[in-house]
Amino acid sequence: MHEWSIADAVIRTVEQWAEGRGRVKRIVIGVPSISFLDTDILTQAFDELKVGTSLRDANLQVKIKEQTFTCQLCGRRFTLKDVEDQVGEVRSEFGEEYPLHLIPTLSPSFIKCPSCGSRDVMVDNQDVTVEEVIMDETS
């Protein structure tokens, strides 16, 4: 269900940006892998919410951004695959709307360094980003 909020955010943001610039053909967004967003639901939400807006003719393309974690204590760099058991535990405890699905920036509170166990972990690619807006050159 959270995918609807993401679609809402993207539409409001690009509508604001595109005002007076022409017609938008395609929007490419990046979403963090740890949020496990359902791209089909996200696209469906976008297609429903764009009706009646200036983005009615635009299509949405979703890119999953892989994340790199860096332990500030031992220096280990790791990926989501290295901590999939930890993420799995959180998902099974909370269900579909699990905390990192809703707010991926909470990950340092849920993920430990797989080498030293520290919670002092920095993460990149944490938020939803608009990567590209392709305009309709014929408009």
């Binding site: 909020s5 943001t13 604001q16 905390p99 809703l102 707010i103 909470l106 509170s109």
Partner: protein, 248 residues
């Protein structure tokens, strides 16, 4: 482009936004926020949004520990208390688990909470901010033209620290209301001021031209932790005075 920020600003547009803030911790911001939300909800639909992502005190005050927010197409649904009072807290996302975050994550988490809260139909939003002068103040300033309610205790050290915030707010052209929590108590008909006569506070309000409301100490209030929405003692009377000040 900042999708989270745009969504948060869009949701807050046209709403009365009040930020309960202090540069000093432990002065009672969360209690004041909860009581203010309760008082205001008698007149308008009021949402309390707890932005103190580390302490999440509103969950303790309202008895929401361990409960999680439902998520709809419009975002995190507030915990309702009657028809006109709602509460949103990070505790309702992490199920009252501890939260420890690096600074950048703290700001983004606050921004996410603002963006993903369902605020549709709410007239007023009260923000319970974490203590300090940092991301919390900047994040809120990016998405809302809030009215500041600055909370202090009468202690000299608190008053001195809170002056930083008053200076900042005055520079940004905002006119706060100053609330002095735990200012006095009533004993056998006498007003007792355990932290002194409040001269430093009087000077502070004169220096910055801000109105001030004093809240009493009421030991009974402690009995209402977990059901703060039911409290109706002398502190609530002081909070009613705050709403009158904010309206001016």
């Amino acid at each position: 482009m900042k999708p989270l920020r745009t969504l948060a600003a869009g949701k807050l547009k046209g709403k009365l936004a009040i930020a309960v803030m202090s540069s000093k911790g432990g002065v009672g911001k969360s209690v004041v926020s909860a009581l203010l939300a309760n008082v205001m909800s008698a007149r308008v639909k009021t949402l309390l949004l707890d932005l103190d992502v580390h302490t999440m005190a509103s969950a303790k005050l309202f008895g929401l520990e361990g409960r999680v927010h439902q998520v709809s197409k419009r975002g995190l649904e507030p915990f309702p208390f009657g028809d006109k009072l709602g509460v949103i807290t990070l505790s309702g996302v992490v199920k009252d688990r501890w939260v420890l975050l690096p600074g950048a994550n703290q700001a983004l988490t606050m921004e996410s909470l603002l963006a993903y809260s369902d605020m549709e139909g709410w007239d007023a939003v009260i923000f319970d901010l974490p203590p300090g002068l940092g991301d919390e103040v900047l994040v809120l300033g990016r998405v809302s033209d809030y009215l500041p309610l600055v909370v202090t205790s009468p202690s000299k050290v608190s008053v001195k620290v809170v002056e930083y915030l008053l200076k900042f707010l005055s520079e940004t052209g905002k006119r706060p209301v100053l609330t002095v929590n735990m200012a006095y108590y009533q004993c056998q008909g006498q007003v007792v001021r355990p932290f002194g006569d409040g001269r430093a506070l009087k000077e502070l309000t004169e220096r910055y031209g801000v109105p001030m409301v004093e809240l009493p100490i009421d030991p009974e209030l402690e009995e209402f932790v977990g059901r703060i929405q039911e409290y109706d003692g002398p502190v609530l009377e002081g909070v009613r005075e705050i709403t009158r000040m904010l309206e001016r």
